[in-house]
């Protein structure tokens, strides 16, 4: 290393040490909310987070991203009150129009559940697992703790990276350790929320054996999306560990069968939303995720004939070898279950048309035209294909 670089590295380390105070500032002790004290921010940092969260709520309200249904919101908040009776109306759950499997808790008590998450939950106990977990993020003030951590970690990570880069070592190694805990919450925070949330589930009378199933849904989505990340960032081993953690907690629980699962109540309440959310996934090209979800017979039954139709559409659009046959099988299953929609025949027609079975395609397209609304703009596509089929049939006849 030449003398100039030596000077730079030495200068950096010197500045690194003296900059510590500027970077890390005052470290604040963050204490959880308790029922005997007023639920309000304790420090300037927490106040800032709370105000930001309020702004975030307002922005979401304006953005059109909220799935507004008072009945569904009431259902969610009743569960929240059962889990956190001592916190009254401080926490409030809302639904976000977002097809990915996710939920978040803001520092001001707002909890958002994505439609993508609600689409795959199978019963009230699984939903309660998520609410209990997110609620504990709020009660334990994990946002405030995380914020302190990020401010310090980002600063250290960047400076560390620079120092190492000057000595010829890639900056990625230095920042890896610093940043890895920024992904989601820290492992400590997630584990704390899991464990404390588990206790609340039990206390509220829910069947805790449903808890690990929530994370199995997430694992399925991660695997289907083929999320490839370095081990440090990977949620997959983290999720597997969380499933194992819940299973270990369940070993000591013997009263699971006496507790509430709430399958019927949940499915009846969320039936429309669940299907709309799956359609949204289809519209975003998440074919693999839908196939992973809907080809699982146990999971599929809760979506009925529309679930079979969406499975067919997912295979049709994924278009891998063999998918055409699988799509047709799913469409026929939907038909046998009583589905008789224009979309079903359009899907069947497109599969047959692409496969060269023009007579069957024509039959399906004609059926589609009978059922479709005459103002539907997609009619224009099917009319073009039918015209071409008729021309081809005519040529074949000649």
């Amino acid at each position: 290393m030449n003398p100039v670089n030596n000077c730079i590295v030495a200068l950096l380390f010197g500045l690194l040490i003296t900059s510590c105070a500027a970077l890390t500032g005052c470290t604040t002790t963050v204490t959880a909310y308790t029922a005997d004290k007023a639920i309000e921010p304790d420090s300037e940092g927490e106040q800032r987070l709370w105000s930001l969260a309020n702004k975030f709520d307002q922005a979401l309200e304006k953005s059109g991203s909220l799935y507004k249904d008072p009945e569904l919101e009431e259902y969610l908040n009743n569960i929240l009150n059962k889990l956190f009776p001592e916190f009254g109306d401080v926490m409030h759950a809302r639904i976000l129009k977002a097809p990915v499997l996710n939920a978040m808790a803001l520092p001001n008590g707002s909890i958002y559940l994505n439609t993508g998450l609600l689409a795959v939950m199978e019963n009230e106990a699984q939903l309660a697992t998520v609410l209990a977990h997110e609620g504990e993020h709020f009660v334990q003030k994990h946002s405030a703790k995380q914020r302190e951590h990020i401010i310090q970690a980002a600063g250290w990570g960047t400076l560390g990276g620079i120092a190492l880069a000057g000595a010829g070592i890639p900056p990625e190694l230095a920042s890896l350790a610093a940043i890895s805990s920024i992904t989601g919450y820290s492992r400590e925070a997630e584990t704390e929320s899991d464990n404390l949330g588990y206790q609340r589930l039990k206390k509220a009378g829910y069947d805790v054996r449903q808890a690990p199933q929530v994370f199995r849904h997430m694992i399925r989505e991660v695997e289907a999306e083929e999320i490839k990340q370095p081990y440090f960032f990977s949620t997959h081993p983290k999720l597997q560990k969380r499933v194992a953690n819940f299973e270990s907690l369940n070993k000591s629980d013997t009263n699971g069968s006496l507790r509430v699962i709430g399958e019927k109540e949940y499915l009846d309440t969320f039936s429309q939303l669940r299907l709309k959310a799956l359609e949204a996934k289809l519209e975003r090209g998440q074919y693999k995720v839908l196939i992973a979800l809907l080809s699982d017979d146990a999971a599929n039954t809760s979506y009925g004939s529309i679930g079979a139709f969406l499975l067919g559409e997912s295979y049709r659009l994924r278009g891998h070898e063999g998918d055409a046959e699988l799509a047709m099988k799913a469409f026929l299953s939907a038909q046998q279950s009583g589905l008789n929609t224009a979309g079903l025949y359009k899907g069947m027609g497109l599969i047959e048309y692409k496969s060269g079975h023009i007579d069957k395609a024509a039959e399906a397209f004609v059926h589609y035209l009978k059922l479709a609304d005459e103002n539907e703009p997609e009619l224009s596509f099917i009319k073009i294909y039918l015209k071409k089929i008729k021309r081809e049939q005519h040529e074949q006849a000649d």
Binding site: V4, K62, G155, I162, A165
Partner: protein
């Protein structure tokens, strides 16, 4: 040593805008258009954020502070130097408020686009818009009907304040020939014809050292923003 000196000079350049940069001015607007001497004052859209290591985070208290400073300094300057009277709008319905906010968001785009027309690559654009005509469209007519005024003053401000940690990192990165974005304050203001939506006058003040949290800084930026504003004729004041 030569390289180090060059890098330090580059750092001074990066950090060294100790005053507002040159303003971009545009005016197809004449003082006679404001014979009443009264402008509808639309509450400025202000956001003041802290630019830290992890990114920009809006600080609501700072935004409130910046908004208050801007309101005070704008009223003070315009009243004292141009004779213009700023009139607050009558209360709007929720739908009208949403529509106004959407027009403010559109003005923000127009102000930014206008800067492009004035920049080093503007030659082509001057040929299609020789008079720099921009408009927000006729959707603000409801404000004219409600308040009985022809023109409005619309203002958008963004203030990014670097945290201490970020400044320290900037210094270090520049010494290694790299960089990270520093803070800045950008203030756009325009006079809008409420009947047509035409932007009769617009200007931008920009600084890498000033902040709306500071009253003197805000006063200086407001002064530079409105220095070129055509004055109202004496008899109309």
């Amino acid at each position: 040593m030569v390289r180090l000196t060059a890098l330090i000079i580059a750092f001074i350049f990066v950090q060294g805008c100790t005053q507002s940069m040159g303003l971009q001015k545009q005016s197809s607007f004449s003082a006679h258009d404001l014979e009443s001497g009264r402008l509808l004052y639309i509450e400025p859209d202000v956001s003041v954020k802290e630019l830290g290591m992890a990114g920009a985070e809006e600080v609501p208290e700072w935004t409130e502070e910046g908004k208050q400073n801007l309101n005070v300094q704008m009223h003070k300057y315009l009243r004292g130097n141009t004779g213009l009277k700023l009139v607050e709008s009558r209360a709007l319905s929720p739908d009208q408020q949403v529509l106004l906010e959407e027009h403010i968001a559109l003005y923000s785009l127009v102000a930014g686009q206008h800067l492009t027309f004035e920049g080093p690559y503007s030659a082509g654009w001057k040929s299609v818009k020789p008079n720099n005509q921009f408009t927000l469209g006729p959707g603000l007519k409801f404000l004219k009907d409600k308040n009985g005024l022809d023109m409005a003053l619309m203002t958008v401000a963004e203030d990014l304040i670097s945290s201490e940690g970020r400044i320290a990192t900037q210094v270090l990165l520049v010494l290694l020939g790299s960089g990270v974005q520093g803070g800045y304050c950008a203030l756009h203001s325009g006079i809008i014809d409420l009947e047509t939506g035409d932007v009769q006058w617009t200007n931008t003040a920009f600084s890498t050292t000033h902040t709306l949290r500071s009253r003197p800084d805000t006063a200086e930026m407001v002064k530079q923003l409105f220095e070129g504003l055509p004055l109202v004729p004496q008899e109309a004041r």
